[in-house]
Symmetry: C2
Subunit: 433 residues, 2 copies
Amino acid sequence: MLCSRILLRKSCEDVLRLGVRTGHPRFFNQISCGLDLVSMAGEWLTATANTNMFTYEIAPVFILMEKSVMARMWEAVGWDPEKADGIFAPGGAIANLYAMNAARHQLWPRSKHLGMKDIPTLCCFTSEDSHYSIKSASAVLGIGADYCFNIPTDKNGKMIPEALEAKIIECKKEGLTPFFACCTAGSTVYGAFDPLERVANICERHKLWFHVDAAWGGGMLLSPEHRYKLAGIERANSVTWNPHKLMGALLQCSACLFRQDGLLFQCNQMSADYLFQQDKPYDVSFDTGDKAIQCGRHNDVFKLWLMWKSKGMEGYRQQINKLMDLANYFTRRIKETEGFELIIENPEFLNICFWYVPSKIRNLEPAEMRARLEKIAPKIKAGMMQRGTTMVGYQPDKQRPNFFRMIISNQAITREDLDFLIKEIVDIGESLE
Amino acid sequence: MLCSRILLRKSCEDVLRLGVRTGHPRFFNQISCGLDLVSMAGEWLTATANTNMFTYEIAPVFILMEKSVMARMWEAVGWDPEKADGIFAPGGAIANLYAMNAARHQLWPRSKHLGMKDIPTLCCFTSEDSHYSIKSASAVLGIGADYCFNIPTDKNGKMIPEALEAKIIECKKEGLTPFFACCTAGSTVYGAFDPLERVANICERHKLWFHVDAAWGGGMLLSPEHRYKLAGIERANSVTWNPHKLMGALLQCSACLFRQDGLLFQCNQMSADYLFQQDKPYDVSFDTGDKAIQCGRHNDVFKLWLMWKSKGMEGYRQQINKLMDLANYFTRRIKETEGFELIIENPEFLNICFWYVPSKIRNLEPAEMRARLEKIAPKIKAGMMQRGTTMVGYQPDKQRPNFFRMIISNQAITREDLDFLIKEIVDIGESLE
Ligand SMILES: Cc1ncc(COP(=O)(O)O)c(C=O)c1O
Ligand SMILES: Cc1ncc(COP(=O)(O)O)c(C=O)c1O
């Protein structure tokens, strides 16, 4: 037993040693938010309490916390907390699935029982730069990925509302039934905010469900200085907001919020007598299980509740403003430094997308330069991984060769870390064959 | 700051004090598995490592662990690990959704792109005592809850294979396309094991996807003594198995396993260039994100890996056999004790369902007795909750008034705890007005 305890400890140490230190201030690889210690403590306590969120009777404190944390989120969105609804989901992708499912249910409640064969052919809309989970939801729900239409974006990555309306009209002409449009508030790659007010108008005009995927950008609602980028979000029917991104909660912590109470229950309840008896000795409206497509549900809320209590609204405001300041600093430095080229000239959020063009190839013909550029970012990243100094993501997009996507979301980042990254990219980039 | 630290600590203490101690050996309320300390340590380390399972590059160790843990599970099921596939899902309900979605995809791959309108009207089958998440998956996927047919069970809660085959034939006659049948291995309420071999034969004959929901019973595969109850599981196309139930892993830890590799990827991949670039400096087949309907994915595997390492196969065997022995003990005691009536005379698993009939009502007419019985279990449970001594679930079923469902899944349970529960039920039951 002693021996096995030592073995287990060794395993744990190995795992921490061999793992990627995603909490490191020079890990810029994904929408990763560093390691917040209060959140971590919250997760530890959650593990110790080891309960399940489906009924009030076994998770009374956490169910009440979920309600109170959601109330703060509803208020931040601008909704009446007396009328709103929501559920914590295992990630933004599933939250988006909840939203689309509820939208279908509202329009055609019979689809729950009789499926898609019995109703008109539905279609939905999202920008070409939105997260792939919207298309995925359309596939899973039996609507079909091809009936989720990509709306073009402008040069800043924002959905073009005119293009949306034109597509809705075209779909109607073709006999389809448009039912759902998604705006992204903080897009995954470019950090763009779609024009919510204008899309809300279009949705009203054509009677579409208006969903805002603020998985990444939702936290900006907590900064009075930057909140205006989400103006109009209060007109949404549903909002996805991931505290496990900008708010720094540990994975997983994601909410799907609804302006109108009741729908989530109607849409998802399956009358499981064995869990959700109506003759319990307490107010059974606290049982959340009947609203979920999950049965067992992990307690994702406690760590967020604890962080929020610890930082307060003011703490979050400062945290977000600080990250925005760092992003502006980084953008400025990129602009000043030779060889760097921004993809979007004036980023609005914490994503900064850019190429590094090594001096050797700066004077090539556009076509050749492009072909060479495609290979530069992967090579620079491989160099970083070999050195083990830093990590940043890259990708191509439909018209552009591979570029870096810098994400500034870790509280621990300093200006020095950003300067270091720039130096490292130049250094590795210039040393390439 | 000091003040705030004290405040936070106090909050944590309050939460633990006010919460329901689900790890307590006298908490028998749900399929809850006590608090395993190794699993808890695993969850703590997971929180500290705080990574995301979507790509190998940021979670190399955990991705490899997921593969190796799944290989053990495939072997336990009886599959060739070279050909099998799987994914960890946030709970058995979502795992069942994965399975049904993959089954649809295999039969009609175009449904991913063109939705349900473009394919025949599908229907699926599950026993009337199966978990509600099967019906829920059918609703979410756009097949429709009503096209998920409930097959009757026998007096032991097992699906009647003749009834399944008759229903399949009837559906075909009506122009429907049967595509998926689910057997439950360890049903939620009665702990029954459906006859897998016989259903496998029917699925082969009618070319249906054969899914086994072993969310609860899967752990029995680790006991050579009791494994025979799942004979035939190796013929399944997919299996849901929740280590967060019988294997004692903390919530959430659930796997959806597939006999055949490749399908999960074809069904769920959405070609997200920004995450799953093909020009990375490592074997990108390790990136699991493209198989998932989630994007960010919590690391649910480490705690299980650690427990398994700590207990070994032999440890799990003993753990499960011990629980089965306790269940047999409890059943015997219930049979001996006046006033108790078993719903299923010889339970096969860790669920023991029974009424307590207080002496006052033992001699009533059947109809009146039934009406009185309906109220007894809720009152006894309310009494327990008031006393704070123990907790056990109850529910009605289609033909029976409220009865208790005892679940023996916590390692910490002793015979004394079981004796205590019996005494407590008698005590409260006899004191009722
Ligand atoms: C047989 C069966 N399948 C599926 C589930 C759902 O599992 P989860 O609660 O992990 O979603 C349960 C839960 O009790 C179950 O008993
Ligand atoms: C805009 C957007 N929506 C949804 C998601 C999916 O969230 P999750 O990874 O929590 O499933 C992401 C993830 O990066 C995202 O950026």
